[in-house]
Symmetry: C2
Subunit: 228 residues, 2 copies
Amino acid sequence: VIEFRDVTKVYGQGEAEVHALDGVSLSITTGEFVAIMGPSGSGKSTAMNMVGCLDSPTSGDYLFNGVHVAALDQDQRALLRRNYLGFVFQGFNLLPRTSALDNVELPLIYKGLVGAERRAQALDALGKVGLKGREHHDPSELSGGQQQRVAIARALVGTPQVIVADEPTGNLDTKMSKEIMEVLRDLNKDDGITIVMVTHEEDMAGFADRIIWMVDGRVERTGTPAEI
Amino acid sequence: VIEFRDVTKVYGQGEAEVHALDGVSLSITTGEFVAIMGPSGSGKSTAMNMVGCLDSPTSGDYLFNGVHVAALDQDQRALLRRNYLGFVFQGFNLLPRTSALDNVELPLIYKGLVGAERRAQALDALGKVGLKGREHHDPSELSGGQQQRVAIARALVGTPQVIVADEPTGNLDTKMSKEIMEVLRDLNKDDGITIVMVTHEEDMAGFADRIIWMVDGRVERTGTPAEI
Ligand SMILES: Nc1ncnc2c1ncn2[C@@H]1O[C@H](COP(=O)(O)OP(=O)(O)OP(=O)(O)O)[C@@H](O)[C@H]1O
Ligand SMILES: Nc1ncnc2c1ncn2[C@@H]1O[C@H](COP(=O)(O)OP(=O)(O)OP(=O)(O)O)[C@@H](O)[C@H]1O
Ligand SMILES: [Mg+2]
Ligand SMILES: [Mg+2]
């Protein structure tokens, strides 16, 4: 479902050139649960933005469901994201001055669900991440870990085909992190949702079927958690 | 140096009342390295904002160097922060559209250092967190973990009396996290800087002399890493 063919992403020019991705080739099959690990600055978020159709390669190809995403225009890409992807950003990217409930309902508005149905599904998603009773608070009234969980609920509420999660447990205690991993694993095993997750915590990567290890904008190795 | 006497912090009213801190009493002595742990939403950041003189109790007293902080006006508190405190925020709070170097120099401008000296100290701090060569990038051109490290460099650049760090390694891989912990430990052992650090990772808490465990706005227990 996800395929990178020698993808590069270069920022800046000349001496200041930064190769955020330096020739990445990988493929993720439907229904896989993959963890992406590697040092800070190794290109993980850049790769995630590519997967989520939020960014395009400088060279090489990225295919989603066999489609060359770079060939789509902005509107087509937006449609693809709404219909197939749920994204948990490393910085959460919640709408400020907007309640947790409204933030989580957003993907369902695009799907054309009516108010009562949206509300029910959003509350269900918030319940899965342990935020029952916090739905009317806006981000400034929530702790760091609570904001992170609103972002997670928003990513899974539309049961998308693929969930892309960039460090989803960075602000959560161990117990809550494991509960979130269980939620993701259930979505993967029961609903067949493909999950691509960046994490730096080995315990969390252990929930994945396979780990991709990145260094300096390249895939250094890949294998099962046991192997890595 | 830091003392809480039955501190409470209450948000909202009536039914919607949230007791972020629900009677916290603790004291931290000069030169101690303390880790604060506990579930998401247990009041850790709220306590950190209190320590950093950015917030005041609803009831109870918070004393910094024996001073009742709530009795100071805004200007006096700002002066206290500049002269004695370095703060790493859970959300980084870097100045956007401002280079990493300028972000890190900011506390030194308040100290009245001249340009060349500021630059040298800022570059030294950035070097300690492994960001040599990234100093001219602004936050939008840096990875999540790099932004976090700029925030850390800014907190330690003025060698303050107390460093307050709210989840300083949440976006860092294990190797880099340990390097940062070594930097903090050196500042603590060599320069006598008091460190109060929120973390949810047991490996990182292991660098501290003592752990304070919070639940539901209260201190549940405290002890050495070995005990906890
Ligand atoms: N302005 C506010 N209005 C209402 N409730 C608030 C407000 N700010 C914080 N809270 C609540 O206070 C409680 C403590 O928040 P705090 O940010 O201190 O938690 P934390 O321990 O740092 O959590 P985390 O580990 O998730 O960062 C949370 O339940 C939070 O929702
Ligand atoms: N707009 C930009 N201009 C220049 N360099 C950039 C830009 N955006 C990202 N980079 C660089 O690209 C590299 C990869 O960034 P990326 O965010 O993908 O790293 P990461 O693996 O997610 O790191 P972390 O674990 O710290 O989140 C970094 O060195 C970063 O500084
Ligand atoms: Mg990243
Ligand atoms: Mg917090």
